[in-house]
């Protein structure tokens, strides 16, 4: 009996410790990644990185100013398409939701959310690049917007449906029509949640490179407009990391550090907005 109990107690301690080790391993991965990136990227980020164009192969120095601006441009295009479409879709699902058509839309959103990013890139390329015969910032923005739409729609729907009935009924009882209730009572009440979803979505797409490979491609120079190929940070990291030049690797580390810093800041900001926005549930 005692031997059996000793075994059970021992097993208990060993297994519980192991689960702690698992948690430690996974969480510490984040810190290892951060430390390694800060160590390598910190040596490489300098003023030139933000102000200079990339140099040719073999030349030292240069920066990725065009990729930073290009990323901003692509993300702006993606947001201009993706946020309104996602938001209004979410409003539709939450406010006019019912069985049937809504179920179909919701299912399609989930489906779109699960499509591998490379497949989205291929789709955008067959629709916007192959027929026009040139890569463009517009195609890149369109591809990323397809990833942003389901994220925005889902979070909008979720946070709108968490708004208490009493708020809606109060507004309706005062004689406001439904659209007025949604626009000035329901959406403002869910504002913080929706913003969080949008920020997380934009942060997610800003790190995507697979959909951009076939759409906005890459550019060693400034782009001439939205109908031109344009450089972006993720694609630059990819092309520089697989190239055999040490100085390009240095640039890739710098770009990686800058990109990850922006993405993490956006994620932490979104978290802060949400935790301070608990009043929405009141």
């Amino acid at each position: 009996m005692t031997a059996r109990n000793l075994y059970r107690k021992g097993l208990n301690n060993v297994m519980l410790t192991l689960t702690g080790v698992c948690a430690f391993v996974t969480v510490s991965t984040l810190f290892v990644i951060l430390a390694y990136l800060v160590y390598n990227g910190g040596k490489s980020v300098d003023f030139d990185f933000f102000t200079q164009l990339p140099k040719g192969t073999g030349e030292l120095g240069g920066g990725m100013a065009n990729a930073i601006v290009g990323s901003a441009e692509i993300i702006a295009i993606a947001s201009l398409i993706g946020i309104p479409v996602g938001f209004f879709t979410g409003v539709y699902l939450s406010e006019w939701g019912g069985p049937g058509y809504c179920f179909l839309v919701r299912y399609m959103c989930d489906l779109l959310n699960g499509v591998p990013s490379i497949v989205i890139g291929i789709f955008a390329a067959t629709v916007l690049v192959k027929p026009l015969h040139h890569f463009s910032a517009l195609a890149g923005g369109f591809a990323l917007s397809l990833m942003l739409i389901p994220i925005t729609a889902k979070s909008t729907e979720q946070f709108l449906s968490e708004v208490p009935r009493s708020l809606r009924e109060g507004s309706l009882a005062l004689g406001a029509p439904k659209w007025r209730t949604i626009a000035s009572v329901v959406v403002p009440a869910a504002r913080k949640g929706i913003m969080t979803g949008v920020i997380l979505g934009v942060a997610r797409i800003s790190g995507e490179s697979a959909p951009l490979l076939f759409t906005s491609f890459n550019n060693q120079d400034w782009s001439n407009g939205m109908r031109d190929p344009v450089a972006s940070l993720p694609v630059m990291i990819y092309s520089h990391a697989i190239a055999p030049y040490d100085d390009w690797h240095r640039q890739a580390w710098a770009a990686g550090l800058v990109l990850l810093t922006l993405v993490l800041i956006a994620n932490i900001a979104a978290r802060l907005i949400l935790t301070r926005g608990t009043t929405t549930r009141g």
Partner: protein, 326 residues
């Protein structure tokens, strides 16, 4: 406030009825606008499926179902087969799951059963941050850390200890199936952990207390009662992670080695569907090469579609069971 002001004129002046009616008609307009946007999502998703289907028509007609089992990939002679890429995609993802599931589920157990509320939330937040790290950054790190480690230490060590298995034979290049699996394993941790933790936390307290009251140790109550209760949710998280791993592109492309032949050894270079799409789609010309690549994309799309469907179903079943008791 604003809503009452807008509604007032219609109430006080009967003559303004048409305006009031138009405002109420605003409901129809708002409904129509949101409906249009919702329909556009539907349309674009349908268009995506349609484009993949039409774009791959040439390849489907020429190769039929043999496309899936052929190992030939030759753009010069226009012969294409998906098998090496299917194999690479499935093998890297499955090995990634083998590494990731025990660690991920272990961590989820710690976070839901042992760690206290705030501590658990903080750790989960850090794990979820891991999911936000862009895939190209995982690739960048892997090229300069995991690849040399694999070449110098892990590969030779596996060969000397398990070299009798065909899985660990042949030269070690650093890049290859196992390297890609390791990177994927790290990338899918967050999905397994956060979904499994949700599933474990929705197990009713009474289940745990009943087991403990009967004299079970904490581990026995967790492993024999709580985990089986949440098993569908945990399996759902694994399907979800599987789907993510299958579609993962950049990090895998950077460390897989891009070898279009099949190798039994996990230490050899190979290729996956996303990786070959990333490296060949821009250069593909003619009729059959792009069509074959688009068919690969379609196959990948169907695989992730099925897995995501299973995952959603399983997670739905557990969470509805969890909410039913509350």
């Amino acid at each position: 406030m604003a809503s009452t002001a807008a509604a007032q004129p219609g109430l006080t002046k009967p003559g303004n009825n048409s305006l009031a009616r138009r405002l109420r008609g605003g409901d129809e307009v708002a409904w129509l606008i949101t409906l249009l946007f919702a329909t556009s999502v539907l349309a674009v998703t349908a268009l995506l499926i349609g484009e993949l289907w039409l774009g791959s028509a040439a390849s489907r007609e020429k190769f039929g179902f043999a496309f899936l089992s052929s190992t030939m990939w030759n753009p010069v002679t226009d012969e294409f087969g998906a098998y090496p890429f299917l194999y690479g995609t499935v093998v890297t993802s499955v090995v990634a799951l083998v590494i990731s599931v025990p660690i991920g589920v272990g961590a989820a157990i710690y976070l839901s059963e042992l760690a206290g509320g705030k501590w658990s939330d903080a750790l989960t937040f850090l794990v979820e941050l891991l999911a936000s790290v862009p895939s190209v950054i995982y690739g960048l790190l892997a090229i300069f850390t995991i690849v040399p480690m694999m070449r110098e230490f892990i590969g030779p060590a596996l060969k000397s200890s398990f070299g009798f298995l065909p899985l660990f034979q042949g030269p070690v290049y650093g890049v290859g199936y196992l390297t890609a699996s390791l990177v994927l394993a790290i990338m899918i941790f967050p999905y397994i952990i956060s979904v499994s933790r949700e599933a474990l936390m929705s197990v009713p307290r009474e289940q745990r207390e009943a087991a403990l009251a009967l004299g079970a140790t904490k581990w026995e109550s967790t492993w024999q009662i709580v985990v089986p209760y949440a098993r569908l949710g945990i399996i759902g998280s694994i399907f979800l992670a599987f789907a993510r791993a299958l579609g993962e592109t950049m990090a895998v492309t950077m460390v897989i080695g891009n070898d279009n032949n099949i190798h039994t050894s996990l230490l050899s270079p190979g290729n996956t569907i996303p990786a070959i799409l990333a490296s060949e789609f821009n250069e593909a010309s003619g009729t059959y090469h792009p069509a074959a690549l688009i068919e690969l994309a379609f196959v990948l799309f169907m695989l992730t579609l099925i897995l995501n469907g299973c995952a959603r179903l399983l997670i739905l079943v557990t969470t509805s069971k969890g909410s039913a008791r509350a």
